[in-house]
Structure formats: C-alpha cells, structure tokens
Amino acid sequence: MATAEVSPASTGTKKTFKVKRYIPSENPKKTFFTEERGLWAWLTTVDHKKIGLMYLGSVTFFFLLGGILALLLRTELLTPAQTFIEADTYNQFFTLHGAIMVFFVLVPSIPAALGNFVLPMQLGAKDVAFPRLNLASLYIYIIGAIFTFIALASNGLDTGWTFYTPYSTESTSSVIWVTMGVFILGFSSILTGTNFIATIHKLRAPGITWSKLPLNIWALYATSIMQVLATPVLAITLLLLTMERFLGIGIFDPSLGGDPVLFQHFFWFYSHPAVYIMIVPGFGIISEVITTFSKKHIFGYWAIALSSLAIAFIGFLVWGHHMFTSGQSAVATSVFSFLTFLVGIPTGIKILNWVATLYKGSIEMKTPMVYVFVFLFLFSIGGFTGIMLGALSADIHLHDTYYVVAHFHYVMMGGTLIALLAGLHYWWPKMTGKMYNEFQAKIGAALIFIGFNMTFLPQFIMGSQGMPRRYYNYIDQFTIFHQTSTIGSYILGVGFLLIAYYLAKSLMSGERAGSNPWGSRGLEWQSTSPPDLHNFDHTPVVINGPYDYHKPMEEFQLGLANAHDEKH
C-alpha cells in the first residue's frame, strides 16, 4: 500500500493519505442503470447521471422539433416565389426554429446533459453539490417547455427569437406564453450554473487542485459564471416585456415616452454572453477529446483555461455589436467594435493551442476526433466571419443579411453542435457501456460535414450580395444559392437520422465497451462503464494532471485505502 501527499479541496493544506490502486471492473454487475430501476425511480432520482440522461433525451426531442422546422423553412425557399407555406407561417416557423434551437437545445445541451453526467465524475465527486436542485432544474425546464407548447397550440409566435419591441408588444401571436416559457427556462439554467460553481469549488476529490482541473471543468466553470450573471438580466427583460404587453407600462414603447432600443440593449446584454454560454462548454469537450486521441499533454493548459474566463469577461462588454445599425452613438459603436475584435483573441488562443497539441501527437482518427477536426474547420470560419461583422463599415452592409445567418450557424452549429456530437461519441461508451458502429459513425460525420457546408457556405455569398434574412421569397438572382442550401440541409437531415439509427442500435446490440476504451487519463474513465450509482466505489485520489500521458496508467487509478483494507 502506498501513500500520497495531496491537498483535499475542503482544506487546501497538504495531507498524507494512504492510497491504493483500484482497477475498474470491465464487466460491472452493479451500475446506475441496474440500481434504482423503474420509471418512478428515474423521475424522482437525484443522481446526476440519470438527470443528465433525461436532459439529453429532452434536448434531443427539441432538436428534432427545431430540425423539422428548419427543413420546412428550407423547403419553402426552394423556389423564389411561394413554394408551399404562407408568409405568416414562414414567420412563425423561423421564430420557433430559432427560439427552440437557442433556448431549448444549445443553451442546456452541453452543460445540463453531458456536463451533468461527467462533471462530478471528473471531480471525483459522488454527485453535484445540490442534487435536489439539479432535479428541480430539469422539471423547471419541462415546465418552460410546456408553456412554449401552449404558445404553439394557440397563436404561435412570429417576432423572431429576439422578441424585438415594438413589434413584440403589438404582435397578435402568443408572445406572453413564449416569453414566460423562456423566463422559466432561465431559472433552470441559473440553477445548473449555481450548482456547478459550488460543486467545482467544494467537491473536488483529494489532490484535484485548480491546476489539475480538466479543461472541460474550466470551461463549464466559465460557462456557469456567465449563466449566473447574464440569465437574470434576460429574466427581467422578459418580465418587463410581459408587463409591457399586459399593462402597457411604457418602458419600451416610444408612444408612451419609452425606448425600444433599450430592449435591444437588455436583450443583447444577455444574449451575447449567451452565445458564449453555448460555445464555451464546447471548447471544454474539444480540449478533452483532442488530448485523448493525440495521447499527449495539452499544449498551453493555462492559456486554454484562462482564455475561457477571459471570454466570459470580455463577452459581457460587446453586446452593442448587434446594434450598430440601431442608432447608437458613433462613440458607442466604435468602442463596441473594438471590444468585439478583442474577444477574438482568447478564442484564437484556444484554436492555436489545440492545433499545437496535435503536433507530434500520436493521432488516432476515431469518430470523436473526426468531429474535433470538423469543429476546428467550421468554427474557425464562424469566428473569422464574426470578426468581419465586427468591423463597422462591413457590418452596415452585412447586418440583417444571410451573411449573419451563415456566421451564427457556423459558430452555433459548426461549433457548439459539432462539439456536442464529439462529446456524445466520446462519452457514449461511458454513459451506456456500449460501443457504436465506428464505420457508420464516420459516414455520419462525413454527411454532416458535407451537408453543413453545402447548406451554409452559399448563404455567405448571397448574404454579401444583399439577400436579407427572414424573407420567405427572393429575387431570381439568388435561386441557385438557395437551392444548393436546401439540398445541403436534406443531406444534414440524413446525417442526423443515421446518427440516431446507429446510436439506438448500439443500445440494443452494441458491443460492450470497456471501462476505458480510448485509453484516456481522465478521471471519469477510471470508473466502470456505465458507472456505479456513486460513480466510484472508492474515494479517488489524484496526483497527476488530467493530461499526463507520459505517466503510467496505474498512477491514475488511485483511491483512498480504508481501514478495512488494512486489516487484511
């Protein structure tokens, strides 16, 4: 039996522990699936893994809904004139597509679904700090969803996902239901963020100092800070909007002496940080996957860790770049433009460090890694076009065109969603204990990559030529771009169906995944697949960093030796 000198999170001072090696079983008899079974046990569980999976299910459901809407929108755009739906219906569809994808899919996707599952495991904790709040956040999410469905069933929504006043105070669609739905959803996001911050500060296993935190944890930490600081502003904004509609309090209404641009300020004060709430957790996944499949220490650990915090900070100061054409003062626009350029720096730092990590690594092209390359390619395009939009003179021309649509799809879908797919394929064996079909998965990734570029590259071109966003018909000049885009979207749809197919199949007839199929050094892999109800059957002790691939595996499988062991 060995000893190790490490510092537990709760005290911070070094202590000597008796440790021994725990090798996870390759064929566990007891997992969180086999314990606490049955529908009721799931619905009332406080286990972060089950809650994470239920979130994953909900998010997938909404992704399907948002995706169907997207395909309908693209189908309408097959021909310059009306193809098959009315203009009003089109307005409703793009609004719901945007609102669902942003608020119900991307914001909760990585933190609440994958993050919930792996965060406590990466910290060597048994659960998140407040397990009951965690469950509450899931139910709050579902209540928010019900409100949105009520809106769907009544008058729909046609304001765009940004709910701009004054139209949103006058529209006859169900603005209040949706804003209340999103308001409620915000609390679920706040609870998750609060929970993660407390967990990361207080529940780390002995030895996990701040310099040994996995970068996924740093990313979720930065995300949680943004969730806690930005979401309440969205909440109060939506509350004011609701009151504006109910009572006409006049704060955003010019005819009563109010100011609609103030709404835009409030909205973007949340929603710009929100784009980083969506992408930063994706950064975390990329850091994990890229090291595992390069079998190499991450390049620039601190640069990547701290740039997440830098993004979180600067991200709060750039909201004005959405309002360059809303009549802001020239000084304000210049300052916001400058700050927008600044935010590209920490983002660029990350990309360069990831690429440097690949250098001289022994790269293994498994599906998660394929998605990492897709991410690097697509997200870089998204980021660079963002910088172009941050340039004032260019933005005056490009604002409210398809160029912006292409930009944010490259970052949100090409960035966040691809990172989510990387993470899903990476942790799938851990979560389910099953392997998916590697060949089919690569075909799926290829379809997504091709379909994605076909859908959104043409949008940059037509946007720069003046095709405005949010129109259901267009002049003949743009036909070829729109049709390419529509066909691309069908390919994307097929890609997602394929993914759904082989993942579902793996659950039924997939090969058993071992405890650590990728040979990762991450703590979450040092438990069985799927994990036991309490994650580890010992208290893990960590002496190495999470990316120390030059050290032998046995140094990563340590846990407290207990009195019981000594007697034998």
Binding site: P8, S10, A125, K126, D127, A129, F130, P131, I190, G193, T194, N195, I197, A198, T199, H201, K202, L203, V228, L229, A230, T231, P232, V233, A235, I236, T237, L239, L240, M243, E244, L247, G248, I249, G250, I251, L256, G257, G258, D259, L262, F266, H534, F536, D537, H538, T539, G559, L560, N562, H564
Partner: protein, 216 residues
Amino acid sequence: MANHSTSHPTHVQHHFVDSDQQFDTAKLGMWVFLVNEILFFGGLFCAYIVYRAWYPELFQMAALELNTFWGAVNTVVLIGSSLTVAMAIRSAQKNQMKGLKINLLITIALAVVFMVIKGFEYAHKFELGIFPGDFYTYEGLDHPQANVFFGIYYMLTGVHALHVLIGIGLIFWIYLRARKGEFNSEYYTPVEITGLYWHLVDLIWIFLFPLLYLIE
C-alpha cells in the same frame, strides 16, 4: 466500500465528506444565487437610471406623490427585521432554541408589517388613479410621461414585494423546522442561508427607498 460507509451524522447528505463541507457548499451556493439576484434587480435599476437621465424633472415631481413618512417607517421595519434574523442565527449558533424561534417569529411579524404598509400605499395610489401603464388615469401630475415613472415604480417595488413574500414563506418554513428541533449549534445551515437571502431583500429596499422617495 469506503466512501459510503463512513459514519455520517444524519443531517450530512451522502455526497459530502463532513458537516463543514456541506455548510461551506450551501453558503457558497447562496452567495452565487444572491449575485444572480443583484443582476436581476440590476436590469430594473438600469432602466431607472436611463429614464431618470431623460426626464429628471418628472422624477422630482413624481417623488412628491410618494409618502416619505411611510417609506421611512418601512425602511426602519426592514432594518429591524435584518437585525432579528441575525439574532436568530446567533441563537442557533449558541444552541438557544427558544431565542431562535422567537427571533424568527419577530422577523416574520416585521415582514408582514412591511407588506401591510406597502399595501396601504398601493391602495392609496390606486384610489387616485395611479395605476401602472395603460390604466393610469391620475391627472394631478402635469407631465406627459408620468406613467413611465410609475411603471418603473411598480416594477421595482412589486418585484421587491414578491421577494419579501417569498422570504416570509422561507422563514416560516425554517420556523417550522426549528419547532421540530431540527437545528442545533452543529447544524443550522438553512437558518444561515435564509438569513443571507433576507439581508439581500433588505439591502435592495435600502436602495429603493432613497431612489424613489427622496428625490430633491
């Protein structure tokens, strides 16, 4: 299996190592939540600042419509309740269960007094026709945007009053648990974090009072 068979006192949940860790975690969680509350109100304060900068004379005129005397009384009442909630925590730390329960009850009583006074203030405004937004019919204020001031007034005080109501509910729940003897000097985390929340509710009022009532 070392990590779930250690001897835990009953109030320590299974995923914590010990009572201290649980206490620190709960407190940190509450502080994070309070930061979130500050930003929530921050949005409203921001609207306040913008409109006060645009219509300074309106804010001066409208503030005269508010009853400074009762506003001041309410400020004193809330500060008093902050004191009693702090004394409740002190009692819990010293294991004085009687003091804990009495202080909690006084806090609730003061919070109710606050709400009653606020209710009378609102009722008086409604009698004059000072309703929010579209329903505003008061003619005594000669300013075209008078309703905007009261829009902000009702939002700020209304959201704050909602927080007071939630606080009353929480403190009452703590009181019920105290009566069942759940707390002692070893374990009083819920008392402490509810106290933190209550202090924030008071603090926000301390900002609201001069910003709305005392404009010269």
